[in-house]
């Protein structure tokens, strides 16, 4: 290596350090807050590495019986909304791609642009008339606003890139189009479905605005539950930070494990709805 190359190398690592540190420092600080007793969290200058670690913060959050309810709610809402979206969205993406019906993407675009609150007003009234408020059904349905466009959008893009030759061969051999979809197109599309699944799960899990309007005391999802903690015990930072970390941990884990799929999906142009 010439000295010029060495300088370049050092410069590169310095830049990498600078651009990655806001994310790293933030999450380290979040962990630090969640592991400290109130004495340390209220100290000035701030304590970064506490002498005593407050595992109790996590134990308290996990032990509260409501937490389990909210966790289950989140699982049910995100799980159902994602499963339903895949069920209708994967075939739709296939159909649109094969028909080359690119104009239909306008609906997805409108869905993308529309503020989440605009869906909430009419659907809120509808759910009220149907007497569904107080159950998880309204939230499952409205989360489809987030998940369905993501799945359709990603699947259109994916099916457009998969080769047609196999499908045509199967059609000529007398397979029905449903059989072709089921046995030829779908197996090839598995990576695309994985991308759609991961992004739908993350954006549904993270969704907050639908929950604050539609969730009652018993039907809160985790983001709403955490928000309600802010208003009630503003002063105990440790348990709050622990709760925040627990809520977002599954998503962060998924981000690191499946970053390749996430990057592929996000750069395909489908980014969060609602």
């Amino acid at each position: 290596m010439t000295s010029r190359q060495i300088v370049g190398r050092i410069g590169l690592w310095l830049s990498v350090f600078v651009i990655v540190s806001p994310a790293i420092l933030f999450f380290l600080w979040m962990i630090s807050l969640s592991l400290k007793f109130e004495v340390d969290n209220a100290a000035y200058p701030p304590v970064f590495f506490p002498d005593r670690i407050a595992w109790k913060n996590y134990a308290d959050v996990l032990a509260s019986n409501r937490f389990l309810t909210y966790f289950t709610n989140s699982l049910i809402v995100t799980g159902s909304a994602t499963a339903l979206a895949l069920l209708v969205g994967v075939p739709a993406g296939y159909g649109i791609a094969r028909m080359a019906a690119h104009k239909s993407a306008i609906v997805i675009l409108i869905a993308r642009i529309t503020p989440g609150l605009s869906y909430l007003i009419p659907l809120f009234l509808l759910f009220q008339w149907l007497g569904l408020l107080g159950t998880l059904v309204p939230q499952i349905i409205i989360h489809l606003v987030v998940t369905v466009p993501i799945v359709i959008w990603i699947m259109i893009g994916y099916f457009e890139t998969t080769p047609m030759e196999l499908e045509e061969a199967a059609l000529i051999d007398g397979a029905g189009r449903w059989q072709v979809f089921r046995h030829v197109a779908l197996p090839i599309a598995k990576p695309g479905i994985a991308v759609a699944f991961i992004l739908a799960v993350i954006f549904s899990w993270n969704n907050f605005v639908f929950g604050i309007v539609l969730a009652g005391r018993e039907t809160r999802t985790l983001p709403v539950a955490v928000y309600n903690m802010i208003s009630f015990d503003q002063l105990s930072w440790g348990p709050l930070a622990a709760a925040a970390l627990i809520v977002t941990f599954p998503v962060l884990l998924l981000t690191v494990l499946a970053q390749r799929q996430i990057v592929a999906g996000l750069t395909a142009g489908a980014v969060k709805g609602g």
Binding site: A23, N41, G95, A111, S118, Y119, L126, T248, T255, V271
Partner: protein, 312 residues
Amino acid sequence: MSALTQSTPAAASTEAAPEKELRPPSYWPFVVPALVVVLAIIIFPWVFTIWMSLNEWKIGSPTTFVGFSNYLRLTSDPRFLEAVGHTLVYTVLSVVLPLILGTLSAVVFHQNFAGRGFLRGVFIMPMMATPVAIALVWTMMFHPQLGVLNYLLSLVGIPAQLWVFHPTTVIPSLVLVETWQWTPLVMLIVLGGLAAIPTEPYESAQIDGASFWQVFRFITLPLIMPFLFIAGMIRMIDAVKSFDIIFAITQGGPGSASETINIYLYSVAFTYYDLGYGSAIAVVFFLLIVLLAAVMLHTRQRMLWTEIASGA
């Protein structure tokens, strides 16, 4: 060919061409379920919202048709007009800053270095993390007495700030969070653009002895322009609609200093339950986003023409 004997009872279409496969089979049955869902949760709410916006519609009182008076009311609602101003400032800052920082980060991530994949995963964590959880920690960091941000400022000799607790600094502080959160998205899109650039221009530039800055300014930047534009568009749409961060950190406060259209819409619809007026805000809000997108597209077109004109 066995197409003659083949029958698909599920498909009602009649475009079977027995002799040769002239037309592709109908794919409508695949789309219908999604169409039903989209009609129910996207189209229906839109039509209903427009209808409600023409009515005086409050929960607990009878509804009456009032024509465009909800829209007229908007033009003289100081809180709404103020919210439009806040939204525009917030949006411009939340588009420009991530675009600059995201492009710089993309140039760095385009290089080869050990652990690049993992670090990219870490880098995109802010935008994937649950916004409310993020907002909660930022709120603690913004705390004027105990917050870590003021401590960091004190280390470099900058006096303590009130951050989100003062009307003049609240929007810049929220933009800081938004920028921290969404710079990774710009980075990913631009990184995709960089990967698509051919290597030839760089090779010839190297032979000509161009500086790093010259290469960036005259080769890289023009080539990634389309990607920057897409990133800017997506960023604009998200920044205008930004809700979680603002609502969880300030709820539009202090006073109404950080009340954007979306936050105001929430108050009107779900604090005062004035659904007719809220619907009118939703419609205008949507049109505003479409307008901003149109302006961006128009600017892009003009830039293209200027480029062509100046290049000729």
